[in-house]
Amino acid sequence: MGMEGIGARVARKEDKRFLTGKGRYTDDMVVAGMKFAYFVRSPHAHAKITGIDAAAAKAMPGVIDVLDGRQLQADGIGNLICGWMIHSKDGSPMKMGAWRPLAVDTVRYVGDAVAIVVADSAAEARDAAEAVIVDYDELPAVTTSLAALGDGAPQIHPEAPGNLIFDWQIGDALAADKAIAEAAHVTEIEILNNRLSPNPMEPRATLGIYDSAEDHFTCYTTSQNPHVARLVMSAFYNVAPENKLRVIAPDVGGGFGSKIYIYPEEIVCLWASKKTGVPVKWTSDRTEAFLTDAHGRDHVSKVKMAFDKDHRITALKVDTIANLGAYMSLFSSAVPTYLYATLLSGQYAIPAIHANVRTVYTNTVPVDAYRGAGRPEATYLLERTMETAARELGLSPAELRRKNFIRSFPYQTPVIMTYDAGDYEASLNAAMQAADWDGFAARRAEAERRGKKRGIGMSCYIEACGIAPSQAVGSLGAGVGLWESAEVRVNAVGTIEVLTGSHSHGQGHETTFAQLVADRLGVPISSVNIVHGDTDKVQMGMGTYGSRSGAVGMSAIVKALDKVEMKAKKIAAHLMEADESDIVIENGELKVAGTDKVLPWFQVALAAYTAHNLPAGMEPGLKESAFYDPSNFTFPAGCYIAEVEIDPETGKTEIVQFVAADDFGNIINPLIVEGQVHGGLAQGIGQALLEEVRYDEATGQILTASYMDYAMPRADDLPSFTLSHQNTPCPGNPLGIKGCGEAGAIGSPPALINAITDAIGIKYLTMPATPLKVWTALQGAAMPMAAE
C-alpha cells in the first residue's frame, strides 16, 4: 500500500489550516461594500399575513432596504421545490404545497421567513428587523403527525387535504398478512423515532454578490453540493441562468444532511444583492439554525413481525407516519420511502414485507435527510422489534439474529434492494467477542451488588450508500442523477490537481483522494491537490451526502486516472521506444517492464505539454475527466453492542462500553474511517439518550431552540469507543468501497435502547432515554407511547 497509499493511516493534509485558524468558511468572507442581512421571521406557527409595514425599520440607522415576499414574487423568483416525486398507492402524485422563499399570505411554522433587512452592520439589520411590523391573523397550529391527520385538524396547505402528502406502499401486503395469520408467533410493537436537529457546528451562512456589469451572481454558501445548488437556483428558482451564477462552498463546518438543501436565505440574499446593489451576507445564529435548518427523523410506526415455529421470520408488516413539517424540503419525500422502507429487510431473510407510509404536513420546521436519512429509522424499528421478539421467544438476541441472517449473496429482498456482499455473522461474532458478551452475567451481578442496574443490547444494521444507478433512481422519482464527476489534471511539472464534484465538509477528501492518486502513480500526496466546492472550477458534480464520496466520487477519480495512465503510458512507450503494454507505473516512474529503461513521472508530464515528441496524432496535454454512475447501491453493515449501567436513584444511564464492528468494504484511510464512525456513534447516542426537538403542541412554539434546551452530546456524555472492521469488498465499484459516514448514527440508537430496556426489564422506552423517563420506568409506571 505504500506509506501514503490506499490503506495507510495518513494524518490529514487539510488539518493545518483548520488548526491554525486559517480555515475559510463562508462567514469569514469579506468583499468590498459588503452589507449584512437579517431575516424577519414568523413568531407564529400558523397565521395569515395581513400587512407588512417596514417604514419605521427603513428609517433606522444603517438600514439600506427592507424587502418582502411580494417584491420577490413580482421579480419572478420561484418557489422552493421537492426534487423527488412520490406517487400514492392510488396513483396520484404527492400533494406539494407552495413554499415561497419569503412568505406572502401565510406563515406555516415559527421561523418562516417574511422579509429581509439589509443594513451596514449585522447588529443594525437585527435592530431594524425588530421594527418591521407584520400584522398576523393567527390560525390554529398542529405539530404532531398523528394530530395533523386527525379530524378537524388545521388545514396547512390547500393542495393537501387533511394534511396528507402521500399514502405510499411497498411490498406485498397479501403475502405479509397471510404469513402473519399463519405464524407461530407474532411480535407487535410501536416505534417512535424522535425528531432531531442536525446541528453542524458552523451555522448556515451565505454571501450573495451581484455584478451589474456582467449581470452575474456569485453565491458563497454553506453547501454540501454547490453544483446542485446552482442547478436548482437556476432551473427552479429563476435566480439566474447557470452561466450567470457561480456557487462557491468554501470550507464548510459540517453538514450531516442539513446543508444539502437550498434554503430561502441563499435565494433571497442573491436577489437582495441585485435589488440593493451591494453584496449581502447573512449568517444564521444558533437559534435560527434550530428554527430553520431541516430537522431529521420524526416517525411513528406500528410493526408486526411473524415467526414460524423454528423462530424464522416469515413476515414483516409496518405502518409508518412521517412528519415532513410545514413544507416539503428538497429530498424530504425520498427519506421515509426509498431510503427507509427499502431497508426494512435489515440483515435478515424475510420472505414477505409490506410497508405503508403516510407523510403529513405539520406547523413545524421542514424535515429532510439527517445523517442516515431513513436508514436509522428502519434500523431502529427492526432492531427494537428483533430484541423484543427474542425476549418474547426466550432466545438470546444473538441466537434469534443468527437464525435469520442472510448468508448468500447476491440477495434480493422483497423491497427492491439487491444486497451484493456481506458477512453479518462475522461482525456479530467480532462485536460479541470485543464486548465480552459471555462475561456480562458476572458484570451484571457485580453491578447489582453496587446497587446499579446493568444492561446489554445489540443492533445489527444494514445501510445502503451511494444511491444509484441514476436510471434506477430516476424511475423511482428522483429529479436528479446520482453519478459523480472527476477531472485529473497533470501539470507540466508532474504535480496533480484532482477536481471533484464531491464536497468535503469534514470528511477528509483532501487526504483520502490524494492517497488514491499516490497509490496509483507512486507520487507523494504532497504533490496532489484536491479542488472542490466551486462551480467555476469544477465541472458539474453531485456533491457529498449518503456516504457516497468514497464509493461514487472516488470511483469517478479512478476512471479519470485510468485515462491519464493510459495516455501517459502511450507517451512513455513512444519516448522509450517500447511497447505500450510493457509500461508499468511504479513509485512515480514509468518503466519498461523487464528492462532498466525508466522515465520519471514529471518527464512524461512535461513531454505531454511541450508536445515536441508525441506519438503521431496525439493531442498535447495530460488531463482527463470522467463521470461515474454506479451499478448498484453499496451495503455497509455491522453489529453494535452497548453496555449500560443505570443509577436507580437518578435514572441516569452511563455507557460502560460501546463496541462497533463494521463492514465498510475496502478502506482507504483507517484513521479517517474511524473518525467517521466515532462521530456517527456520538450522534446516534445523542438521539438515544439526549436529543429531541420539542414543540409546544398548543401554540406550535419550538421549545428546544438553543444549546440551553437541546441536549447536544458533550465529551463527558460519551465513552471512548471500541471499533473493529470485518470487511467484505464491495463488488460493485472499482475500489471495493461501501461507505462509512452514516453507519454510526444508524446502528447505535437501538443498541442503546435495547441495553437500557434490558437493564430495567421493560418493553417500551422512547428516545431520548432521559433520566426522568428511565427513573419513571423504574418506578413501575407504564411508559406513555407518545412522547410525553
Binding site: 486559517k22 439600506i64 458552523e202 452530546p713 471512548s720
Partner: protein, 182 residues
C-alpha cells in the same frame, strides 16, 4: 415615508461617534486598536475589526466554545465578553499559538490523532486544551479531559480522538518538561 427614507438615510454605525468605543488589545503579541459599538462582543471585534477569523461563533448562549481565546493567560469564551471590557488586555487567539510556523504540540497532536473533522470547533478546542494542560501540570486523565471539555461542543468527532489528542499533547508537553528537569 419609504421614499423619503431613500434620500435621508440615517447615518450608519461608523458616523455615530457617541456609541463608539476605542478598544486597544495586545493580540498575539501585537498591539491592535479599533473602534466598535459599545455592544460589540470580543469575538466579533476579533473577527471583524482585527480580521482574525480563526475564532468562531457556533451558538448564542455561551455553550459551544468555538470562540475560546486566552485573555491575560486564561481561557475565556470571547462571545461572553464585550470588546470594551477586554480593552487593555493581552489576548491570544488560535492564530497566535504556532511559533514560527511550527505547530504547537496541541495542534500537532490534533493532527496526528485526527482530533478534527470539519474544523469549526477546532480553534476553541485547541485553546481550551492548551489552557487545560497548562493548569493541570501533567496530571490529566481521560475523565478529567472529558469533564473539562464540557464547554466545547464538537458534532463531528464524537470527542474520542479529541480526548486522545489532548492526553497525547499533555504527555508530550509534560513528558518533555519532566525529561528536561531530570
Amino acid at each position: 415615508m419609504g421614499t423619503v427614507f431613500e434620500e435621508t438615510r440615517a447615518p450608519s454605525m461608523g458616523q455615530e461617534e457617541d456609541n463608539m468605543a476605542k478598544v486597544t488589545l495586545t493580540v498575539n503579541g501585537r498591539t491592535m486598536s479599533g473602534e466598535c459599538d459599545d455592544r460589540t462582543l470580543l469575538v466579533h471585534f476579533i473577527r471583524e475589526k482585527l480580521g482574525l477569523t480563526g475564532t468562531h461563533v457556533g451558538c448564542d448562549t455561551t455553550q459551544c466554545g468555538a470562540c475560546v481565546v486566552h485573555m491575560d493567560g486564561r481561557s475565556v469564551k470571547s462571545c461572553s465578553i464585550l470588546a470594551v471590557q477586554a480593552s487593555g488586555s493581552t489576548v491570544t487567539t488560535i492564530e497566535g499559538i504556532a511559533a514560527q510556523g511550527e505547530l504547537h504540540p496541541v495542534q500537532a497532536a490534533f493532527n496526528q490523532h485526527h482530533g478534527l473533522q470539519c474544523g469549526f470547533c477546532t480553534p476553541g478546542m485547541v485553546m481550551t486544551a492548551v489552557d487545560m494542560i497548562g493548569r493541570h501540570g501533567g496530571a490529566l486523565d481521560e475523565a478529567t479531559v472529558r469533564h473539562e471539555l464540557e464547554g466545547n461542543i464538537c458534532r463531528c468527532t464524537g470527542y474520542h480522538n479529541i480526548v486522545k489528542a489532548v492526553l497525547a499533547a499533555n504527555e508530550e508537553m509534560h513528558g518533555a518538561a519532566r525529561q528536561a528537569a531530570e
